[in-house]
């Protein structure tokens, strides 16, 4: 294979270096970030073209053959995640270029964003467990700084919680890697999978697997390990929250899916059962917490937790159909969540607040923005024919086929409560008359139409995932098939021996 699998890592690195060289030139940084993001998107599209028939792209870094060298592996799940990163990168660069204050840009928002993208892409393409840990640290370091950048009081307090819990999870992850290495003598995921499947060390494997559930559970915001998320996500500027909500927790979810379909797939009864229970509680606690909040960004932040529950539900059920649902849900939720945060950012810019008690009458003033919000919100709740509906439907059918009645009931109930939260925002911010006349801070800010560009783009994607559900599901179906047959991954990496 060519150098292609390493490009999603190299391009953002190059962009970040260029941005740092242009430290004083803000305009140049904006252009570099946008161009780099565009290239990431194009490359991920190209990679997707190559892998969409089920080919697994493998690259041995430095030509050290697996399992001795570090391997980069792109299967269909990785490639769809790379595509989502590309889509997000372009939108966020456009939005940040127009919305972010120059102070934050001066202190390095764009290079940090690109380093974050490098870490995320690295985590998606690596085929080595320790390398996964390193990429996690890369993206965490970038996210720590992005979160604290600006140094407002709430930001710093949120950062402390975020930093402490994420470092704890990294230490757990590292310990898990150590024990796994002591047991198997390798860190290449494909070879690890082989060793574990020979199945001599049942108890030890289960213990390490639970450590991994804990470590990735903290990173992806799974019940009961998600408390850092609502404390830290609503504190930085909206565009940073949008970036985090789309990518950070999803890397944790991706790691869980990868590890628990490839390596720890021998004891689904207990391990995936545990994930399923966690998924149900995650959905429920997220959506219930959202009901008590009256600030748009806080509602959306705790909803991230609840959406993680749906994604994990597919992994917990561990059937091909359920994983298909998980893949579609990932695509849907990354775009929708980012879009909702970006819209919340526009509301904040227009009205100066995100507090539902103080907002009102937005529908009368901004019908266009209202419709954009409504589409994303309804998609999150799962109203047909938008993207969320098909994803949820698949998960629920998978639950019914697996006869896990309880999780199906929980998922349906949570879906209803999500609708409640979304209509709450709609009713308070858009429909009810404004309680007091909030001055239009920025009646028509000069860059506003630029802010709307990514929002409109994402809305189009949300609608088209719903309208072109056929091809999307064909893809997800193949991706799930690949995940359910780890032999193909092992053969691609180890060359069939």
């Amino acid at each position: 294979m060519t150098l292609l699998p390493s490009l999603p890592i190299i391009i953002p690195l190059a962009g970040a270096v260029l941005c740092m060289l242009m430290r004083r030139n803000i305009a140049a940084q904006r252009v570099i970030a946008l161009v780099t993001s565009g290239i990431i998107l194009l490359i991920s599209l190209y990679i997707m073209m190559l892998t969409k028939d089920g080919t697994i792209a493998v690259m041995n870094v430095g030509d050290w053959q697996a399992p001795y060298g570090i391997t980069l592996v792109i299967d269909m799940l990785s490639s769809v995640m790379l595509l989502l990163v590309g889509l997000l990168a372009v939108g966020i660069s456009i939005y940040a270029g127009a919305a972010l204050d120059t102070e934050r840009v001066k202190y390095g928002f764009f290079p940090l964003m690109l380093i974050l993208l490098m870490g995320v892409n690295g985590a998606f393409v690596t085929g080595d467990l320790f390398n996964l840990y390193v990429w996690f640290e890369v993206l965490l370091t970038a996210s720590f700084i992005l979160l604290a950048l600006g140094g407002e009081r709430a930001q710093l307090e949120g950062s402390i919680k975020y930093v402490a819990l994420n470092l704890l999870s990294s230490a757990l992850f590292l310990a898990g890697i150590g024990i796994l290495y002591g047991m198997a003598g390798t860190l290449n995921m494909a070879e690890l999978a082989q060793v574990v499947q020979q199945g001599e060390r049942g108890g030890l494997v289960t213990m390490v697997a639970v450590m991994f559930i804990m470590a990735f559970g903290i990173k992806c915001g799974m019940f009961p390990l998600y408390f850092w998320l609502p404390a830290s996500y609503p504190t930085p500027p909206h565009v940073v929250t949008a970036l985090f909500s789309g990518l950070l927790t999803k890397v944790g979810v991706y790691a869980l899916i990868r590890v628990f379909t490839l390596i720890f797939s021998t004891d689904p009864e207990f391990l995936h059962g545990l994930i399923l229970i966690g998924a149900g509680l995650t959905m429920l606690s997220g959506v219930l917490a959202a009901a008590s909040h009256y600030e748009i960004r806080k509602i959306l932040s705790v909803h991230i937790v609840s959406q993680i529950g749906y994604i994990l539900m597919g992994l917990g059920l561990f059937t091909k159909l359920a994983l298909t649902g998980t893949v579609v849900y990932l695509m849907h939720v990354i775009i929708v969540k980012t879009n909702l945060f970006l819209i919340a950012g526009i509301i904040k810019r227009i009205k100066g607040t995100n507090d539902l008690h103080r907002l009102g009458g937005l529908y009368k003033e901004r019908p266009g923005l209202s419709i954009l919000f409504l589409i994303s919100a309804m998609s999150l709740a799962g109203i047909p024919p938008l993207s969320g509906f098909f994803a949820k439907l698949t998960l629920i059918i998978a639950g019914l086929r697996a006869e896990s009645w309880l999780i199906v009931v929980v998922a349906l109930g949570v879906s209803l409560l999500t609708l409640y939260s979304m209509t709450k925002i709609w009713a308070y911010a858009f429909w009810k008359p404004a309680p007091e006349l909030l001055p239009d801070l920025d009646p028509m800010p000069k860059g506003q139409w630029i802010l709307l560009l990514p929002v409109i783009g994402y809305t189009v994607i949300i609608i088209s995932i719903g309208v072109f559900a056929g091809p999307v599901f064909d893809y997800a179906d193949l991706a799930a098939e690949q995940l359910m047959e780890p032999q193909r991954y092992m053969e691609a990496v180890l060359g069939g021996n």
Binding site: Y133, F144, L174, Y181
Partner: protein
């Protein structure tokens, strides 16, 4: 030797977690440090403890005939020490900045984000 080191790892984890649960920011960061030391030592033991078995082939020797020390865990530890050094440095700066702005180092007083 393994048992002794296992006890050391356990102690490091226990003291790390204990310190993390204290309310003081400085103790929190010391706790994080101890925790990462614990994890590093764990990897070291997991690779197997052997003395006087350098992973270097003697002249004329073909292939590893005797059991040698595994160099990989040490490479892993080196990587993770570098990472945790950087993160500790960042956390220290963050905590100092927070102390200056919030005016306290008591974690329980930081309730701005809790509502």
């Amino acid at each position: 030797m393994e048992i002794l080191l296992a006890i050391v790892v356990g102690t490091l984890y226990a003291s790390g977690i204990y310190l993390m649960m204290r309310r003081n920011l400085v103790q929190l960061i010391i706790g994080l440090g101890l925790l990462s030391h614990g994890a590093n030592l764990l990897i070291f033991i997991a690779g197997g403890l052997r003395s006087n078995r350098a992973p270097i082939l003697a002249e004329g020797e073909k292939g590893f005939s005797t059991v040698m020390a595994d160099p990989l865990p040490q490479a892993l530890i080196l990587t993770s020490i570098v990472i945790s050094f950087a993160l500790t440095a960042f956390a220290l700066v963050l905590f100092l900045k927070t102390y200056r702005i919030v005016g306290t180092d008591d974690v329980d007083e930081m309730k701005e984000t809790d509502t």
